[in-house]
Amino acid sequence: MPIYLDNDFYKNIETEFKKYANDHEKLSERARIIAEQDEQIVEKAEESLEILETFGAIK
């Protein structure tokens, strides 16, 4: 195991992860970011379908 992954690293990151897991604001921020991306995904899916419909038979 690499020496830079010492006790201090694990102690600190455990604190960070716990804080993150219980931080409602942070998790709401994540949901907002995903919602913003979602618009693009829906657009992309529509665009994909439109393109697929232009394809003829594939042999």
């Binding site: 195991m1 690499p2 830079y4 992954l5 010492d6 006790n7 690293f9 694990y10 102690k11 600190n12 990151i13 455990e14 960070e16 992860f17 716990k18 993150y20 897991a21 219980n22 409602h24 942070k26 998790l27 709401s28 921020e29 994540r30 949901a31 970011i33 995903i34 919602a35 991306q37 979602d38 693009q40 995904i41 992309k44 899916a45 665009e47 994909s48 379908l49 393109i51 697929l52 419909e53 394809f55 003829g56 038979a57 594939i58 042999k59």
Partner: protein
């Protein structure tokens, strides 16, 4: 013992033509020519450079569902003289009935007009080499029975079109769904029912004109196989370029042990443009972006890459040259996955940016996010990996051991998201719940700390 040795013959065109000739009453010299032209090139990948050292066992009659279906839907109405069984040829690296030497089998359709004879290839991917290197191909465990002996092997089935009842689009559906059926328990699609499973722009069925991508999606849907798709016109100025999106999607789908149908518009040597589909079923052991492609007619490999085989390794650099506005991918998605790839990537990115420790490691060059793998995996395989590969590592840190035991005891959904980040000296592994809605305000990650492992997590192995 002596009798067992007589089972095996040297795998060459003369011997094979003789055996087939006995079975179908076609002259050996005609068969030799046909085998050379239509069958041999398809089987090149099975024996690699050890062509001289391959042996075979010939079974004159074997019942194959797909061939029976093809007869039922079409050949029964024609003047072709067909038999309802196929011939089966088992290949071995040494003349012994052992799984260790088993290369796989292929079947030949019994019909009085050749050129369309090869039916199925079931390679033992564990024993296939490309330039001496092992291949990482998705597979399921299958058994064959030869002379009362049962041999087990890891296969991904390759079905071959006849261009009359089945074109490349149907062949890929048949082969892909047979794998999904055995690997993940999805419904098996039968040729017998294939043409009843779609209605959109349906035309005369035989000789087949192939299927459009939307018809293919309709078929998957009618069998309750959730299917994802992606096609796009090049659009600059957006977050990712067309090829980057393809690259990322192909990587996550293949790493998740799910096959991809890749559609392309290909110009042949006569400058005619034709749509064609191939399957991406794995990658080489050395490179995640050197894909194993099955092209059931060889049309793409021949016309675009000047490769004469039907199974080939194709690098991302080669492949991306052929992705354009007339390309698309279709891929299965596990039913109970509700947080999709793009959303999970964003969620991980958010967690990462909120951890000073991780950001610091990246800043010091000890962590490389460019090599991050995202994949869906069965939680039982993930737990086996934690128990067998991660837990035994000598860890000076007690909390890491406790975390692994906690994860092993945790009730997880069938499939979980796994994210593997490359760090100096190993990997960080993160596991997340894909059953929550993408806009959830719950924490989706199971980890309370990153799991260190010095071994890759992989689904494309032969365990």
């Amino acid at each position: 013992m002596q009798k067992k040795k007589e089972l095996f013959k040297k795998f060459n065109r003369t011997n094979l033509a003789r055996d087939i000739s006995h079975a179908v009453s076609i002259k050996e010299n005609i068969l030799r020519k046909e085998i050379k032209e239509y069958i041999w090139p398809r089987l090149d990948f099975l024996h690699g450079s050890n062509k001289e050292k391959v042996y075979y066992i010939f079974e004159e009659s074997y019942t194959e569902t797909e061939w029976k279906d093809m007869i039922s839907v079409h050949y029964i109405n024609t003047s072709y003289n067909v038999k309802n069984t196929v011939m089966r040829v088992h290949l071995f690296g040494l003349p012994e009935l052992k799984s260790d030497y088993y290369i796989g089998f292929f079947t030949l359709r019994k019909i009085d007009e050749t050129q369309i004879m090869l039916s199925y290839i079931f390679p033992n991917w564990n024993n296939i080499r490309n330039e001496g290197q092992k291949l990482c191909v998705m597979s399921y465990k299958k058994s064959v029975h030869i002379m009362g002996k049962e041999l087990w092997f890891h296969t991904y089935p390759l079905f071959v079109q006849d261009n009359i009842t089945v074109a490349c689009s149907q062949a890929d559906i048949i082969s892909l769904t047979l794998y999904l059926h055995h690997k993940y328990d999805y419904r098996r699609i039968r040729i017998l029912d294939l043409n009843k499973s779609f209605s959109f722009r349906k035309k005369k069925l035989f000789p087949t004109a192939g299927l459009s991508p939307t018809q293919m999606i309709e078929i998957f849907n009618s069998y309750d196989i959730p299917i994802g798709y992606f096609a796009t016109a090049e659009h600059s100025g957006k977050e990712l370029s067309l090829t980057e999106i393809y690259y990322n999607y192909i990587d996550y789908i293949i790493e998740s042990g799910l096959p991809i149908i890749l559609g392309m518009s290909i110009k042949n040597f006569e400058e005619r443009q034709q749509s064609h589909v191939v399957q991406i079923i794995g990658h080489t052991q050395q490179n995640r972006d050197e894909y194993i492609i099955y092209d059931d007619s060889g049309y793409f490999l021949k016309n675009s890459l000047n490769i004469s085989g039907f199974v080939a390794t194709v690098t991302w650099e080669q492949l991306k040259e052929h992705l354009d506005k007339k390309s698309f991918i279709l891929y299965p998605i596990h039913e109970k996955v509700y947080m999709m790839y793009d959303d999970f990537k964003k969620a991980f990115d958010h967690l990462f940016r909120n951890s000073l420790e991780l950001v610091n490691l990246e800043g010091k060059g000890l962590l490389d996010r460019n090599k991050t793998r995202y994949l869906l995996a069965d939680n039982r395989i993930v737990k086996r990996y934690l128990k067998d590969k991660v837990l035994p590592i000598d860890k000076p840190n007690e909390s890491l051991n406790e975390e692994i035991y906690r994860l092993l005891e945790l009730d997880m959904p069938h499939y979980v998201w796994l994210c593997e980040v490359k760090i100096e000296g190993g990997f960080f592994v993160f596991i997340a719940d894909p059953t929550l809605w993408k806009l959830t305000k719950k924490n989706i990650f199971y980890n309370t700390i990153p799991i260190f492992s010095n071994e890759h997590f992989g689904l494309l192995n032969y365990i």
